[in-house]
């Protein structure tokens, strides 16, 4: 039987967006034919002359993006063209690659991604107009409905960032024994790169303008219990930047390993729904916990929202517990309880 992922593996339309940043914030919309449980991938490449950019956020309504691989950065990207006045020709710049992913909760045909970079990036004193940011986005379609994807923390994320002489190879290696794995590579060679057979190009090959050139490309490989290696050779003298990462799916009929049982909020829920606070209680003196009950933290400006739960049963010894992971300035001072003493 083929791997469920290999059988389902397909690529939805994807595209590359390129932005010249002046204020550190950019957004763009894109069309994509995604079904529920598809995996949406965003690769971000940014380049500048001096200040390594720091990504502050990557947001999209209805989607919750998480960074899939640790960022790779290089300080020796070639800068062949200069900014037009000739002053920077032949110097090198800096560049950074990041790979993010989100699970598509319901079918969608398009989305708008907004991302912001830190102020140091947009105020590069050397040449404030010489930054570029490029998004590559793609979608892995046909994933199994109802089975969210895990990112397997046990799999290595490999980063290569090096100066490569013409024809010299940068190598990214994966080693996985997981039965059903989608390997991803975000490659950013300074010139045309070559990839081994078997990898599928999701999207890529764009070239940004005046800043140090970055040409991000996103590749994918469905794998089942293999050790995969990849070598990308570099046509020019300069740095190559590569990020590898892996997503692990769940085979048909298998159970997903994300549920928190009765011991806490479902971990996937806690990660993917940012605006909630969960109440749990223990009626056995702190040993086990009830199923969590969530309510919204009120939305923007909903300061008057009362975070209340009603009809909570009875107990001789109860411990309440609140959990949240909203990326918001929160403060907890305690709680009020309305109780009625029983007779026994």
């Amino acid at each position: 039987m083929p791997s469920p992922i290999a059988a389902a593996f397909g690529l939805a339309p994807a595209r590359v967006g390129s932005h010249s940043l002046t204020d550190g914030v950019a957004s763009d919309s894109f069309g994509v034919n995604a079904d529920a449980d598809d995996v949406l991938l965003v690769g971000l490449a940014v380049s500048a002359l001096r200040s390594l950019p720091v990504l502050q956020s990557l947001t999209c309504p209805g989607l919750s993006f998480a960074r899939l691989a640790a960022p790779a950065q290089a300080t020796n990207m070639p800068y062949p063209g200069g900014a037009g006045d000739g002053s920077e020709a032949g110097t090198t710049g800096v560049a950074s690659l990041e790979l993010w992913w989100a699970r598509v909760p319901t079918a969608m045909t398009g989305a708008a991604v907004t991302y912001s970079l830190d102020a140091a990036f947009s105020s590069d004193p050397f040449n404030p107009n010489s930054q570029n940011a490029m998004l590559v986005w793609g979608c892995v379609s046909g994933c199994q409905a109802g089975d969210p994807w895990d990112v397997d923390p046990a799999l290595p994320v490999t980063i290569a960032s090096q100066v490569a002489a013409p024809g010299t190879a940068a190598t990214v290696s994966f080693a996985t024994a997981a039965p059903d794995t989608l390997l991803l590579l975000l490659a950013c060679p300074s010139g045309p790169g070559t990839l081994p057979a078997g990898w599928t190009s999701v999207v890529g090959g764009a070239m940004a303008g005046a800043a140090p050139q970055v040409t991000p490309s996103l590749y994918a490989l469905a794998a089942a219990g293999l050790v995969a290696g990849l070598t990308a050779s570099d046509g020019y003298v300069g740095a190559g930047l590569y990020i590898g990462a892996a997503l692990v799916g769940t085979p048909d009929g298998g159970s997903d390993d994300e549920g928190g049982g009765g011991s806490g909020p479902s971990q996937s829920t806690a990660t993917l729904q940012p605006d909630l606070v969960w109440l749990e209680w223990s009626d056995d003196r702190g040993h086990t916990w009830s199923n969590p009950v969530s309510i919204s933290l009120g939305g923007v400006g909903g300061y008057i929202t009362s975070l209340q739960w009603r009809r909570l049963g009875y107990a001789r010894d109860r411990v309440f517990r609140l959990t949240w992971s909203a990326a918001l300035p929160t403060a907890l001072q305690g709680a009020w309880i309305d109780v009625k003493p029983g007779s026994s």
Binding site: A270, I304, V319, L332
Partner: protein
């Protein structure tokens, strides 16, 4: 309605029927009584992480702000100088293959780096020139920890009761510039400087030395000062505000977190934390660091093998648990492996990758990953009789938005 007040930190007792108060990624701030607010305390989110630099190799084994106001970092086996724009410049290589913490200090002219081996390295602060520590006298034997006092750089000599020093304002050595920790026979584990005194921290006991200015060797043991605790975790030792914090061991046992100040050692851990630590497979790998934000000075103690992190708020005396969520939602220890304050920021180095993060209380993710906050309340009882719970209202801020954060 009756109020459930939260005034303390984490306290999950040996048996949860006594207390099950988990306090995760939150710290307690008490209100001045004179302010007259109805709630005497609030729990605030601990600081998030924003990546500011990325070294090609991890883990980040040490961060140090030298007296030339430059940040130095060890990522993997390479020492970097990191500029104001957070750009790393590789200076040189140290012992390959190690991942344990390193120690750095400087005498105003030269930075010295030690990594627990018999070697050391130096950087001329004016030029960032890197070189191995060269000692024709053969007396330098490497160290786990280097510190500075009165123009001298101080080193523990691993596996001995001895410490040694450089000569004044130079990374040169005198074969007589060493001394034994002598009040008890245990080996010297590490050392630290606080209040212009050297704390020689052994396996089970500690003694204090000071600069007497004597001609043959400038340091002497402080008479009649003896601390009946040492440390079981050499990297747990951290100093702030003339006090030393460590995971203690003595001739009676181990696993109490202590503050040493004014020749007194004070237990700052509680039964709940001590019971927790006793359940860890290893505590000798604990790494301690101190930093401050929003007026709270913290002692951050992380346990790599147990994959747990605890945070002591020195200002309030309360403990919290810290955890980082991986992409699958599982809890692990906080990302910080070391800390420093430089360029107006508190920065921490990652225990796995080469990332250096800004610790920012106005950021509510760990470099994009959600941070789980959790707080359990005290037990609610009514003389063994049942209580019917009609309503629970959390006294918690709602409707907020994440603030724009400056780079």
């Amino acid at each position: 309605m009756p109020r459930l007040q939260l005034t303390g930190g984490a306290y999950q007792a040996r048996n949860v029927i006594a207390s099950a108060q988990r306090c995760l990624n939150l710290y307690v701030e008490t209100m001045p009584q004179a302010v007259g607010e109805p709630s005497p305390a609030a729990l605030y989110p601990t600081a998030g992480l924003v990546r500011v630099a990325y070294l090609p190799q991890g883990p980040v084994r040490g961060l140090y702000r030298a007296t030339n106001d430059t940040l130095y970092a060890v990522g993997g086996s390479t020492l970097y100088a990191i500029s104001l724009a957070w750009l790393p410049v590789a200076l040189g290589s140290i012992t390959p293959g190690l991942t344990s913490p390193v120690s750095m200090s400087d005498n105003g002219n030269t930075l010295v780096l030690v990594d627990g081996t018999s070697n050391g390295w130096q950087v001329t602060l004016a030029t960032n020139a890197f070189a191995p520590v060269s000692d024709p006298t053969g007396s330098f034997r490497g160290a786990d920890r280097v510190d500075y006092l009165d123009t001298y750089l101080l080193f523990n000599v691993p596996g001995t009761p001895q410490f040694q020093t450089t000569q004044s304002l130079a990374v040169t050595f005198d074969s007589l510039y060493f001394a034994n920790k002598e009040s008890h026979s245990d080996l010297l584990v590490t050392l630290a400087v606080a209040k212009r005194e050297i704390w020689l921290i052994g396996e089970t006991t500690t003694e204090v030395w000071y600069n007497s200015g004597a001609a043959d060797f400038p340091f002497e043991s402080m008479p009649s000062v003896f601390v009946d605790h040492g440390t079981c975790a050499k990297y747990s030792v951290a100093a702030t505000d003339n006090a030393i914090y460590l995971l203690a061991a003595d001739r009676q046992g181990q696993g109490i977190v202590m503050q040493c100040a004014g020749y007194q050692s004070t237990r700052i851990s509680n039964y709940a934390l001590e019971t927790e630590l006793a359940g860890y497979p290893v505590i000798s790998d604990a790494i301690g660091m101190t930093y401050q934000y929003n007026g709270h000075v913290f002692y951050h103690l992380t346990f790599p093998a147990a994959d747990k992190t605890w945070l002591y708020d020195i200002t309030t005396g309360q403990w919290s648990e810290l955890a980082w969520l991986d992409a699958g939602g599982a809890e692990h220890r906080h990302r910080a492996n070391c800390a420093a304050s430089c360029y107006g920021r508190v920065v921490v180095g990652d225990w796995q990758s080469g990332a250096i993060y800004r610790l920012d209380p106005n950021v509510y993710t760990d470099d994009g990953q959600p941070i789980r906050r959790q707080r359990a309340f005290p037990h609610l009882v009514n003389d063994g009789k049942r209580l019917f719970y009609r309503q629970f209202i959390a006294d918690m801020d709602a409707g907020t938005v994440a603030p724009a954060v400056a780079g």
